[in-house]
Every structure is written in structure tokens, then in C-alpha cells.
């Protein structure tokens, strides 16, 4: 048994920032992560991170209030405004803190941090490091964690939470390199496991972005919030869905259909290519559906050629490399074929502004959490921001909670049952015979989600999708593990992941079918209008072992900004 006062599950930006904060407050904290923290998916972020620094010549009068307004409007008024205010205020010191920690942001001539325009933002306020902002931020945060001497359990896959008398008291994890399961006892746990993109077959996300951390909380009885809001990024590469950052349009890139038209003119005449992602993805999908995809096929072009080689090499070198390696297209010479692709989970573990869940001792931060600052549609550049702002707050809140506990320390009675339960689960998976192939179910799930719960949604299509998902869930209980135990057992990890993914996917499906309106990323052809009278509320999904979730409503925190129609 391993003991730390605080265990952080996940070593991405949110987990690292939480750990550093708790450590600063004198807490014995450790990170447990499936991959070396510097390999987390945060490192794939490209375009940048928002803060109203007012460094850009065109943003001299930018303020956090304007950032807050853009965020709330972008969210289609589903974000909680107190949380948005907190995030947009904190954004400014947080970016300076990253700079002081050595984050290699790009610079303006005067030496200040460079900023670029991004979708849905009234001012150029996205701070960036070329088109590798996530990689730079993540490595900086790893460096800070190393300097702070945060212990890291690297390549440990967390399988479940330990809950004792309704209080979260640790986790059970698989030691991938040495083999075997181990109990981690703790006074509190922060889940920072990232998004659930891989429940879709057309995701920009890393292969490990399975939403398993969300499922762990869900299975332990904590609600998942607003799962139906799934962001489709307008520009994923056609064949791999690898992301081409919004920064490419921020730097002036065009979206072009088969007729050579910059079609965004029809949908967002003012913002054009820099409309928010929900609107831009729908516009592209409409062009494709109406036969104006390139050659009548299912994609359009992202054209950067007019930016010129120098600007592309300086500002978008990563994009260029990705397009060359993964699509065989050099953006200096040719337009890039792109499709809307699953990109971000607006929903997640229901938390307050300090990462608290409804379970004492359990916190969550980053993409796996839903505070909510993104509501029905996240603005580009607000997610990296969320990880550091709310990672810090969750780390501080967990530290404070631990400081306030009367009783402390290792306890012989806690967690042994959970450990035995996981070992039993593996044994029974391995002992099943002639069972289901987990990868066939995974593939069926991911394509069902893509086909039935995509950019546009409609009741009968979703109903059919939900039924398929229910079948798949039933099949998961018959999955057979071909290969149990040992070290670096991918078969076991991926089967565990599947059990979580199916439930998260069902939560998305059930929430989407229930919400009879269109808001942000949730666009229903049968209910095309936003319906504030009935639906200006969050969805909570509560886990039911058999079948789909139980859904409840939760009030939205309104405040500074009255809901209005969104026009761009």
C-alpha cells in the first residue's frame, strides 16, 4: 500500500498545476499518470491560451470583462458566470506566472507576449508559442513540478476510486512497468484525466483520451454534467482527424468550398472564418451536405497559400509538418483537406469553482471536469486556460480540505475491498469464454457516436443510436480478456477503458436525445431554436448500472450578462 495525503490522477496541465499548488501549501502530494506527464495530451494543443493582456496593437482596450462576455456568449449562455468571471480575471496573472516559469511564448517586437485573433473573440487575446503552445506549456509545468519535487508514479493506470463511507480515500492502480495492482490510500483525490474524445471515431484527441477518469467518478456516484455538449472542431485533417489549429484561421487562413467560395460569408458575415467553432463546423457540414464539398465529397479546403511561405514557416510550422506527414499536403503549395472532427468534451464531472464534487475528498479539474466555464460551446484558447486556473484552485481546495481533517493517515481498513474488487474483475474478465471482442465493441461505439450524435442531431437518428449503444453496453458485460496480468498489458488497460467509455457515450447519447432545443454545439434539426424557457439549465447524468443514466437538471449561474441571441 502506498500513502500520500493527496493523490492526483493525471499529469496533464490540470493535474500538474493542482499538484504544484498543493505542494506549495505543504501537502504530501503525488501524481499518478498513465503516461509520463510530459506526454499528456495537453502537449498536443496548438493555437494558444486566452488572457486579456492587451498586448496586441488592436487590443489595447481589452479587459477581462470583455473576455468574460465573449466566453459567456460563446457558451450560448450555459456557462456559470461566476466561474467565467473567476477564470477571465485569473487568466492575466496565470499567463504571467507561466512566463516567469519559462514558458516560451512567442513575442511581439517590444518584447511582450504575442497574441493572435481566435474564433468568437472580440479582440486578439490568444497568447501563443508558434503553433505548439500546449507542448510549451506542458513542458514548463513538468519542469515546475520537478523543481517542486512532486513525486510522480509514471505509467500507472488508475482503475477505480476508493470510497469509504461516502468519502473518497484513494485509488487502485495498475503498475504498468512492474505489473500488478496497488492500493493508494489518500485523504483526498483530484481527477485530472482529460477528455473523452475517443468515444467518437473521428476525434482530434490522443488515443488515451478515453474519458475513463470521468467514468470512475460516475461509477462512484458523482454526476456527470452537460455531456451532450461535444465540440466539433471545424478543421481536422481529412484522413486522420489530426487538428489544424484555429490559429491557422487566426493568422488569416480561408475556408473554401468546391466552387472556390469563402462560404463563411453566408453564415457569419462579420466574423467570417473566425466565427465560434459550433457555427463554423455547422457551416462546413452544411456545405458538404448540400454537395459543395470538394469534388462533391465530404470535405472542404483550409487554404493558407496566400499567407506566404515566410508567415507559414514562422507562425504555423507545426501545422505544416503535420499536413505534410499525415496528409501528404504542403500548405505552402496546396490547400489542406479538412473535416469537422470531435475535439472537446464541454461536459464532465460536475464540480464547483474549486473543483469540489459532491463527494467529500473528491475533486476534479481540466477537461474531465465541468465547472462550467464553456457551457454549450467552448471558445478556442479557453481550455488551456481552464486547466491552469482550475487546476490551481482544485489543488488549493484539496489542500485546505486535508488541513481541516481531524483524523489522518494510513488505515488498515480502507481500500482493501476495492483492491480485491479490481483483482476479481480482472480474474472474471479472463475466465469468461467465447465472449465478446472488446475492440469490435469499441469500434462500433465510436462509429455510432460519430454517425448518430455528430454536428447535426435529430430525434429518430439519435433514438436509433441510443438503442445501439444500449446493445453495446450489454455486450461489454460479455467481453473476454485474452491476456490477463503481466506487465504493460494493453489488452487489460484497453478493456477497462472500454467499460468506462461505453457509459460516458451513453451519457452523451441520453443527454442529447433529452435536450429538445439547439444550443451551442448541440444542434438539432428538429428543434432548431434555443429554448431558454425550458432548457437554460445544466443536465446532470447519474449512473445506473443497468441501462442508461438518470437525468436531472441543475440551475445555471447567471449574473453579469443577460442571455441574448448569438450573432457573429
Amino acid at each position: 500500500m502506498i500513502y500520500h495525503e493527496l493523490v492526483i490522477v493525471g499529469g496533464g496541465l490540470a493535474g500538474l498545476r493542482a499538484a504544484i499548488e498543493a505542494k506549495k501549501q505543504g501537502i504530501d502530494v503525488a501524481i499518478v499518470s498513465q503516461v509520463w506527464p510530459g506526454r499528456s495530451h495537453s502537449g498536443a494543443a496548438q493555437g494558444g491560451v486566452n488572457a486579456a493582456l492587451a498586448n496586441h496593437p488592436e487590443s489595447a482596450d481589452d479587459t477581462w470583462e470583455k473576455h468574460a462576455f465573449d466566453t459567456v456568449k460563446g457558451s450560448d449562455y450555459l456557462a456559470d458566470q461566476d466561474a467565467v468571471v473567476q477564470m477571465t480575471k485569473d487568466a492575466i496573472p496565470v499567463i504571467y506566472e507561466l512566463d516567469h516559469a519559462g514558458c516560451p511564448f512567442s513575442r511581439f517586437d517590444d518584447g511582450r507576449i504575442a497574441q493572435r485573433p481566435f474564433g468568437g473573440a472580440g479582440y486578439p487575446r490568444t497568447c501563443y508559442g508558434a503553433d505548439k503552445t500546449g507542448h510549451y506549456m506542458l513542458h514548463t509545468m513538468v519542469e515546475q513540478a520537478i523543481e517542486a519535487r512532486v513525486p510522480m508514479y509514471v505509467e500507472w493506470f488508475v482503475a477505480r476510486l476508493v470510497v469509504d463511507d461516502g468519502v473518497c480515500r484513494g485509488v487502485v492502480a495498475y503498475d504498468m512497468v512492474r505489473g500488478g495492482f496497488e492500493l493508494f490510500q489518500a485523504e483526498a483525490v483530484v481527477i485530472a484525466t482529460g477528455g473523452a474524445g475517443r468515444v467518437y471515431s473521428n476525434s482530434t484527441n490522443a488515443i488515451i483520451s478515453t474519458g475513463y477518469g470521468m467514468a470512475m467518478a460516475y461509477h462512484a456516484g458523482v454526476a456527470l454534467k452537460d455531456l451532450e455538449f461535444v465540440q466539433f472542431h471545424p478543421t481536422g485533417l481529412l484522413t486522420t482527424n489530426i487538428l489544424m489549429t484555429e490559429g491557422a484561421r487566426g493568422e488569416g487562413g480561408y475556408l473554401v468550398n468546391d466552387l472556390g467560395e469563402r462560404f463563411m460569408e453566408k453564415y457569419a458575415p462579420t466574423a467570417m472564418e473566425l466565427a465560434p467553432r459550433d457555427i463554423t463546423s455547422r457551416s462546413i457540414q452544411t456545405e458538404i451536405n448540400e454537395g459543395r464539398g470538394i469534388g462533391g465529397k465530404g470535405y472542404v479546403h483550409l487554404d493558407l497559400r496566400h499567407l506566404g511561405a515566410q508567415k507559414i514557416l514562422e507562425k504555423l510550422p507545426g501545422i505544416r509538418d503535420l499536413a505534410i506527414h499525415f496528409e501528404g499536403v504542403d500548405p505552402i503549395e496546396e490547400p489542406i483537406p479538412i473535416v469537422p472532427s470531435q475535439h472537446y468534451s464541454m461536459g464532465g464531472i460536475d464540480t464547483d469553482m474549486d473543483g469540489r464534487t459532491t463527494m467529500p475528498g473528491l475533486y476534479a479539474a481540466g477537461e474531465c471536469a465541468c465547472v462550467s466555464v464553456h457551457g454549450a460551446n467552448r471558445l478556442g484558447g479557453n481550455s488551456l486556460l481552464e486547466t491552469v486556473v482550475f487546476g490551481r484552485r482544485a489543488g488549493a481546495a484539496a489542500a485546505q480540505y486535508i488541513d481541516g481533517l481531524d483524523e489522518f493517515g494510513r488505515s488498515a481498513a480502507v481500500g482493501e475491498e476495492a483492491l480485491a474488487d479490481v483483482r476479481d474483475r480482472v480474474r472474471s474478465l479472463a475466465n469468461r469464454e467465447g465472449g465478446e471482442d472488446p475492440y469490435a465493441i469499441r469500434a462500433a461505439m465510436a462509429s455510432t457516436m460519430k454517425e448518430h450524435f455528430g454536428v447535426f442531431r435529430e430525434a429518430s437518428v439519435m433514438q436509433a443510436g441510443l438503442e445501439t449503444m444500449m446493445d453495446l453496453k450489454a455486450r461489454v458485460t460479455n467481453v473476454e480478456l485474452r491476456h490477463a496480468g503481466g506487465v504493460f498489458n494493453l489488452d487489460m488497460i484497453r478493456t477497462f477503458e472500454l467499460e468506462g467509455m461505453v457509459d460516458v457515450a451513453l451519457g452523451i447519447a441520453a443527454g442529447a436525445l433529452a435536450r429538445t432545443e439547439s444550443r451551442g454545439s448541440h444542434a438539432r434539426t428538429d428543434f432548431p431554436e434555443r429554448d431558454d424557457a425550458n432548457w437554460l439549465e445544466h443536465t446532470l447524468a447519474l449512473y445506473e448500472p443497468d441501462g442508461g443514466p438518470r437525468l436531472e437538471a441543475k440551475a445555471v449561474g447567471l449574473g453579469m450578462f443577460e442571455p441574448q441571441e448569438r450573432k457573429y
Binding site: G43, H100, P104, A206
Partner: protein, 245 residues
């Protein structure tokens, strides 16, 4: 449908007592069908899912930025996710873990020493003055000096390829030294003598004999050798000429 043949080096630590006592080391061949394009990583997943669930390898972003899937593919260091089988010519594709490193299982090598060495160079900014209220100013020219080293994804290819590492187990190796360089050239870093002794010694920069395997191995096309030569020069300037950084 085209097919690719994968020849994969296997190692299972739980079978150290098999016939030859090598951990069951052998090459297994698999046939992987594909439609129009297939990366080596996709091929490995196909094998793990459909043919042999016991195969082990590292993966994460599948977009060449996390550094997980560096392997030795047809005798060359490559990121499996970034390598399309169409570019590997005809014949079987031989996939091995990065050589000269201990193996955990199959294509997963043990990175413990690699990361321990990375940590010894103080891979973080060192500031001795109070932080300004806003950002620390940095000119675009000074920022440009960081372009090369900050692109390192710590995949380990350079480290595995370096004969000086093979010969001297204590040598920090190209990746750790590139990280030291990344901070030493950062105009915001105020290290005086803190980091210098970490790399300016016989297990540090002087152990580099400019063989440049690292430059060839780097999937990000970085140049650790040049960075290490800069570190040697910087140490001389600081130690002998008493210059500030």
C-alpha cells in the same frame, strides 16, 4: 487490399527462464491489411487488437508531439505514428525497441536513466531576482534562440543512438544536455553557477565527441550536437574569462 508484413522484436520479462534465458526474445511476423494508408502505429494497434493481444508498445497523441512511440523501424529511429508504411519500401517492416536501452516488454524500453539524467541538469528556469509585475521582456531575437531546443519531445531517440552513452553509462546524453542548453540560452534565465556544474564535467558536455548520431536520429530534426558545443564554449567563457551568462 494491400498488406504489410510486420516483423516485431518480442521480449517478455516474465519468461526469463525460457529455453535460451533471454526473455523469450524472438521476432514475430504479422500480416496487416490496409486500405490506402497505414502508419506503423496503426499497424501495431491492428496486431494488438486482432492478432496478438499481448503485444506491448507506448502511444498517446498519434500526432508526433508526445514522444511516446519512438522505435527502431527498419534500422532507423522513427516515431511510429509519423511513419507511413508506404514510405518504407517493399519487404517486411522490422520494428524493434530503441537499441542500447533495457527493455521492459516488447517495444517498450526502460526510460528510467534517461529521465533521471534529464532531471539532474536542473531542467527548469532559474531566477534570482523578483519577478516583474507583468511578463519578463524578451526580444523576438532572444526568443528565436529557443526555437530549436524547445521543440524537443524527449522521445529518447538521440540518447539511444549515442555511442558515448553506450560507452559511458554515466554520460548525461544529448537530450539532457539539450535541455540544459535550452535554459542557458534563455534570456530570462538568471542561473549563475547553479546549472553550470551539472553539465560542465566529464559526464556532461565533454563526453560528447561530436559523432552527430543524435542529429541523424532526431525525429524532430533538432541538433543536440551543436547545442552541446555551445555549452562547452559557454563554460569556458564563464569559468576562464569570468563572464556572466
Amino acid at each position: 487490399m494491400p498488406e504489410a508484413t510486420f516483423r516485431i522484436k518480442r521480449h517478455n520479462p516474465e519468461k526469463l527462464d525460457d529455453q535460451n534465458g533471454t526473455g523469450g526474445d524472438r521476432y514475430d511476423e504479422f500480416t496487416v491489411p490496409y486500405e490506402s494508408s497505414l502508419t506503423v502505429l496503426e499497424g501495431l494497434f491492428y496486431i494488438q487488437e486482432a492478432l496478438d493481444g499481448s503485444l506491448s508498445f507506448r502511444y498517446c497523441c498519434r500526432a508526433a508531439v508526445c514522444g511516446s512511440c519512438a522505435m527502431y523501424i527498419n534500422g532507423t529511429y522513427r516515431l511510429a505514428c509519423q511513419t507511413n508504411v508506404r514510405h518504407l519500401g517493399d519487404g517486411p517492416i522490422t520494428v524493434e525497441p530503441m537499441p542500447h536501452m533495457p527493455v521492459v516488454k516488447d517495444l517498450v524500453c526502460d526510460m528510467t536513466d534517461f529521465f533521471a539524467k534529464y532531471e539532474t541538469v536542473m531542467p527548469h528556469i532559474i531566477r534570482n531576482s523578483a519577478p516583474p509585475e507583468k511578463e519578463i521582456m524578451q526580444s523576438p531575437n532572444d526568443r528565436k534562440k529557443l526555437d530549436m531546443p524547445v521543440d524537443c519531445i524527449l522521445c529518447g531517440s538521440c540518447y539511444s543512438s549515442c555511442p558515448s552513452v553506450w560507452g559511458e553509462g554515466n554520460y548525461l546524453g544529448p537530450a539532457a544536455l539539450l535541455k540544459a542548453y535550452r535554459f542557458e540560452v534563455d534570456s530570462r534565465d538568471e542561473a549563475r553557477k547553479e546549472r553550470l556544474p551539472r553539465f560542465d564535467n566529464e559526464r556532461g558536455s565533454y563526453r560528447c565527441h561530436t559523432i552527430t548520431n543524435c542529429v541523424e536520429a532526431c525525429p524532430k530534426e533538432l541538433n543536440p550536437t551543436e547545442a552541446i558545443q555551445w555549452l562547452k564554449g559557454a563554460a569556458v567563457r564563464r569559468r576562464l574569462l569570468g563572464r556572466a551568462k
